[in-house]
Amino acid sequence: MGKILEVNNLKTSFFTHLGEVQAVRGSSFSMNEGDILGIVGESGSGKSVTAMSIINLIEDPGKIKEGSVIFNGKDLTKLTESELTEIRGSEIAMIFQDPMTSLNPVFTIKNLMTEVILRHTDMSKKEAIAHAIKMLDLVGIPHPETRINAYPHQFSGGMRQRVMIATALSCDPKLLIADEPTTALDVTIQAQILELLLKLKDETNTSIIIITHDLGVIAEVCTDIIVMYGGMMMEKGTVDEIFYEPNHPYTNGLHNSVPHIVSGKRDRLIPIKGSPPDLMKPPTGCPFSPRCPHAMQICLEEAAPMFKLSDTHTSACWLLHEDAPQVKGYTKGGKQDD
């Protein structure tokens, strides 16, 4: 399996009237074909902006300041708008959080879907409609031949999200970016959509990036996880590493602040004190240091580099440095990653 995507030192800022908002401050990661990568973080952690930066959907006043996004050997940050248009929708597709607002209400599903197909393939209009019907069938919409003529408002939230997925997958993309695909949906519908994404991934071998704040969703579908906070990557690893051997105080904090449904015990939740940083004036050191129970002097002064714990597991925390005091639950002496 080859590398499909490589993001190096990505920095994206929004230059507003009030000042520069540093939404992403140096993300680096790569993903292999067939991976499902989860990016988890709270609002304002830069997870959506990271994903938007991959296909350069950053609009004015936002700008990718630094870094590169290598997809299939091409640096997407260097491409022109028209070259990007060729890639968006065909090679990299995206589904958004809110199925209520991301489908244009004045077009039928047929219009919406065939527009994408005709743009990126050389199918005739008739073939495109047939293909759209096939895709709707694939995502489990009943009576696709008649439903294709309906308008978005005639579908429920879950069905609209299915239409979005069908549209996104209609040109057989290599990479699908799903930005909070189930956040607006009820749990029973969420379960349907997640199941569908997993099924489609197996059938089409599309790589998927899922952005979410819900640790449960991540645990369910992802193979690899990136934990983001304050525009920076805090920890990265396989799903088992992040859930069973977390080595960052923020990851631990996230785990402790959700109730575990396993019955009987009713432990008090352990919240993270304080609130997320203001990205207009990000803290100089580690963005989590003001809320971290283990913060040391160096944490306030300098952001930690990524320490390597295994081939797949890295964590940006000074506690992992050789000279740091031993704290229970944190493995020390990890080699510094460059």
């Binding site: 709270e42 609002s43 429920s156 879950g158 069905m159 009820d186 749990v187 029973t188 519908i189 969420q190 379960a191 349907q192 997640l194 199941e195 704040h213 819900d214 640790l215 449960g216 969703v217 991540i218 645990a219 369910e220 799903v239 088992d240 859930f243 069973y244 904090g253 996230l254 785990h255 402790n256 602040s257 959700v258 109730p259 575990h260 449904i261 019955s263 009987g264 009713r266 008090r268 939740l269 352990i270 919240p271 993270i272 004190k273 609130s275 997320p276």
Partner: protein
């Protein structure tokens, strides 16, 4: 009084904070002149439950099941279409606005969206002080002291008193909303999805605070949410709603250990658990289809269209609530067969 009242007879009248009997709230969707064309949304349709003093009763269900409407009808933001609301032994169903005033002091509400539920043109002092003024609780210096006290109670500082809502983060705004609810020293607080608009790390802060306040002030909560794991965490008893009807009511541990209703089972199974190994080992129940429209739902079990165990009787007869175990109530024709109960 109705027959199936969830073990109401086992509880002394004086221990009951709130009792809801056959509560109905219908909305007209279009007021067509032709009667045959009129559509009615049965948002809440014959709901029974009670809340003991000092208890937390959780109300869960998917969007559109009527859980928020229930909360709003209880506090009489909506006029109930039918049924009775009994607060601390007094029937408040048909009280006028003026007569409601003393009860409004005893019942307060915390809303879901901390961005929409605070008036952007009022300072924090004005927002919290409004209830104090309406009920003439404190005046002058005492009033200001009281507001500072409340701010400290919810973890804010005195210097926040003269700021406007936009200067606060979501979590802090929700704290202001809670301070506003507590300002009039209520007995029952209706929490309508108080944490679903907040970040995970902030949710835990607010939930812990609600817990502490309950211990300190002896509050009773009606906790409305769609997040079952949070509801389980905070509630003593839980009611599961589906399309305006109660499907199952029982103590919260029982609901997770021994769910009897097929809907509850599916709902529990659909929650993504933040534990990958557990997730891989579990077989989940995926419900087919969407929630049915609550417009003119007709007879039969409301869940029948999505139920795996649906038989003819489910489509024709609305199931009555019955007691399955002690304190465990369920509305399903076939729960015994499904769960192998003899």
């Amino acid at each position: 009084m109705t027959e199936n009242n969830f073990g109401r007879n086992d509880v002394k009248d004086k221990d009951i904070m709130l009792e809801v009997i056959g509560l109905k709230k219908y909305f007209n969707v279009n007021n067509s002149l032709r009667k045959s064309k009129r559509k009615i949304v049965t948002a809440v349709d014959g709901l029974n439950f009670f809340i003991k003093k000092g208890e937390t009763f959780g109300l869960v269900g998917e969007s559109g099941c009527g859980k928020s409407t229930t909360g709003r009808t209880i506090i009489k933001l909506y006029e109930p279409t039918g049924g009775q609301i009994i607060f601390d032994g007094n029937d408040i169903t048909h009280l006028s606005g003026k007569e409601m005033l003393p009860y409004r002091k005893k019942m307060q509400m915390i809303f879901q969206d901390p961005y929409a539920s605070l008036n952007g043109r009022m300072t924090v002092t004005d927002i919290i002080g409004e209830g104090i003024d309406t009920h003439r609780l404190y005046l002058g210096k005492e009033r200001q002291e009281r507001i500072y006290d409340l701010l400290h109670t919810v973890g804010l500082k005195s210097e926040h008193a003269n700021r406007y809502p936009h200067e606060f983060s979501g979590g802090q705004r929700q704290r202001i909303g809670i301070a506003r609810a507590l300002a009039v020293e209520p007995e029952l607080v209706i929490c309508d999805e108080p944490i679903s608009a907040l970040d995970v790390s902030i949710q835990a802060q607010v939930v812990n605070m609600l817990d502490d306040l309950q211990d300190k002030m002896g509050l009773t909560y009606l906790f409305i949410a769609h997040d079952l794991s949070m509801v389980k965490h905070i509630s003593d008893r839980i009611g599961v709603m589906y399309l305006g009807k109660m499907m199952e009511v029982c103590p919260s541990d029982e609901l997770y250990d021994n769910p009897l209703h097929p809907y509850t089972q599916a709902l529990l199974s659909a929650i993504p658990v933040p534990d990958p190994k557990l997730t891989r080992s579990q077989k989940r129940i995926i419900l087919e289809g969407d929630v049915k429209s609550p417009i003119n739902p007709g007879e039969g079990c409301r869940f029948s269209s999505r139920c795996r165990y649906c038989k003819d009787i489910c489509k024709e007869v609305t199931p009555e609530i019955e007691e399955a175990n002690h304190g465990h109530y369920i509305a399903c024709h076939r729960y015994k067969e499904i769960n192998g109960i003899v």
